[in-house]
């Protein structure tokens, strides 16, 4: 059983997705418990796997018993073990928290919704565990296709924004595929570890440089790196609540993981930073992404769209940290993948909980919510403090690593952008808190929504929300352990000195 963990994490949700879509024809009320079972097992096995990887070192799994360079292999080290654990656990928490909103927003499609939910998790976990470049492409498209469908389930503008996301997402996937093709021409292999050993003599070849650039371009489109972010705010902002809070925290973070995997494992640090010298220009682009995301967020009148632009800015943090090319920057980037997934989930769950009662997230609808929904708003404050980077929460620690990495690399523009975005985030969130704390609730009844019905959300939404927001502080307090046991081995092995 122990050595089957990597494959179980991927195949269990896949199996349950088929069972759920079949059950939906017979008995709709069984769909949710079955999805919980599938997600729960996957989350449990991923935690076990992380424990195994942290104690005994990287785990390899051969599908069908084929030896590594020929067959498709799964390979899990602490970097992807950590991201798998956070992805499956957060998907599980989000599943529990959004049960009521799924019934409210897509009442007759729960079966389809939950099977797509599971398939999306299959895609993400598959991207994370795989050790094969082409397998990664296929699972990337599985995750993307299910997210187009989940977003398209919404009302109003959702189908149009899903279609725009599909156009750009397909372009991104195709660029990645083209990059893999160039790598295959040059090396004749698709296994990540094998390609990494075959590449060093070919570093001067222009085909390898093009392969790297195509892969980067494809992954950057999928992660909404600043000039390529146009699809993100519409797609995530118009998605159904449960889909938005599933896709927004996880998809972009997994794409950053793919980027870091490409940089560290496949095209080594030597190639990226010494031969191509792409570090400084990419850090400049990331600084621009951080500043632009913050400025666009200031202009938004809708809470969820504001959160979407904050994601664009956070992607800049992680890209910048990864491209700084030193130990602290890379540590900060990996730690921020972990932390930002939790913070973003916390804020999106709060937004979902507010939307469940108010049916709208425009700023004026938030007036007086502190009195009506005290627990939700308290969790919102916890998430906001973490995004701003206030010490006991986890957001502070990753930002600390990023800033010290920026100083060590002499990239003062990046440090300035980080501080600027922290200040803008403080303005953004204190504006929301001011409106909802001091605003007069009675005036908002005139807007026509059922003001009397606005009260605290049900316990099934609040308990997961409280767990996530305490998680922000707990992860913050255990940062030292995470960095020393999980992140440093990877960063040191890749060739960054301590």
């Amino acid at each position: 059983m122990n050595h089957h963990y990597p494959v179980l994490i991927v195949t269990l949700p896949l199996l349950f997705a088929f069972v759920v879509s079949g059950t939906a024809w017979v008995k709709k009320s069984l769909c949710f418990p079955l999805t919980v079972a599938g997600m729960g097992l996957s989350a449990w096995f991923s935690i076990c796997l992380l424990g195994q990887v942290a104690t005994t070192g990287p785990v390899e799994y051969r599908l069908g018993g084929w030896a590594m360079p020929w067959g498709i292999g799964y390979r899990v080290d602490t970097l992807n073990g950590m991201v798998i654990a956070v992805v499956t656990v957060l998907a599980f928490i989000n599943l529990i928290a959004t049960r009521k909103t799924v019934v409210q927003e897509t009442p007759d499609k729960t079966g389809a919704f939950y099977s797509l939910y599971l398939l999306f998790v299959v895609g993400l976990t598959g991207i994370l565990v795989t050790g094969d470049l082409f397998n990664l492409y296929v699972l990337l498209e599985v995750a993307s296709l299910t997210s187009y469908a989940l977003i398209g389930m919404g009302n109003g503008r959702a189908p149009m924004s899903a279609l725009n996301y599909l156009f750009l997402g397909t372009l991104g996937g195709c660029f990645y595929l083209l990059g893999v093709g160039y790598l295959y021409i040059m090396t004749g292999s698709l296994n990540m570890a094998d390609v990494a050993t075959l590449l060093p003599p070919l570093f001067k070849s222009s085909a390898i440089v093009m392969a790297f650039i195509f892969c980067m371009a494809g992954v950057s489109i999928k992660m909404a790196f600043f000039p390529l972010h146009m699809w993100l705010p519409n797609a995530y902002g118009n998605a159904p609540t449960a889909a938005g809070s599933l896709i927004a925290p996880l998809m972009t973070k997994v794409m950053v993981y793919v980027l870091i995997r490409l940089m560290l494992t496949i095209f080594s640090v030597d190639f990226v930073f010494v031969i191509l010298k792409m570090g400084p220009p990419m850090v400049w682009m990331s600084s621009l992404a951080i500043a632009a995301g913050a400025v666009f967020a200031l202009a938004q009148k809708n809470l969820k769209r504001m959160l979407c632009y904050i994601i664009v800015s956070e992607i800049g943090y992680m890209m910048g940290g990864a491209w700084l090319g030193n130990n602290a920057g890379m540590t900060g980037a990996v730690l921020h993948i972990f932390n930002d997934a939790i913070m973003t989930l916390c804020l999106f769950l709060c937004a979902g909980s507010i939307y469940y009662r108010t049916q709208g997230l425009e700023m004026e609808r938030l007036k007086g919510l502190f009195r009506k929904m005290p627990v939700t708003m308290a969790c919102f404050v916890a998430g906001a403090l973490s995004i701003i980077g206030v010490p006991p929460t986890c957001g502070f620690f990753s930002k600390w690593y990023l800033i010290s990495g920026g100083l060590a690399a002499g990239q003062y523009a990046f440090v300035a952008a980080l501080i600027f975005s922290s200040l803008v985030n403080a303005i953004l969130f204190f504006r929301v808190i001011e409106i909802s704390y001091y605003g007069d609730f009675e005036t908002h009844n005139a807007h026509g929504s059922s003001g009397a019905a606005v009260m605290e959300s049900p316990a099934s939404m609040l308990v997961p929300l409280i767990i996530v927001s305490t998680g922000l502080v707990v992860v913050g307090l255990y940062t030292g352990g995470i960095v020393n046991h999980l992140i440093h081995p990877i960063v040191l092995k890749a060739g960054f000195s301590g």
């Binding site: 296709l145 109003g156 899903a162 156009f167 083209l178 093709g181």
Partner: protein, 129 residues
Amino acid sequence: MSDLVVAVLGKYNYWLYIILMMIGIYAMIAKKNLIKKLVGMNIFQTSIILFYVSIGCKKGGTIPILEHSPGHHMVEPAHYINPLPHVLMLTAIVVSVSTFGVALALALKIYRKHKTLEEDEILMQLRPE
């Protein structure tokens, strides 16, 4: 000059895939009709499939099955067409078909709501909201 001719004619498969790719991107950017954009996207994906298929091919190669080698005993890799890129493209074709399917379903949903598939008209309808 002759270098250029060799570069164009000798590697014509790469030129063809790039031309197809540009046609696809042009359609995705310039066309206003959503279905035409989708067709552009499909041309774009097909160009990459053709690229992969062409890199696996060679002139006068045979299929990689043992029985076809004379006398059954010698396996000469130089004579065989590499089947792996072709097999990979079977998967990529499945991906592109399912992407097209999801996109058509979304286009259908948009058409039912807006009664048009012209992007500018849809944006006009969405603006007052």
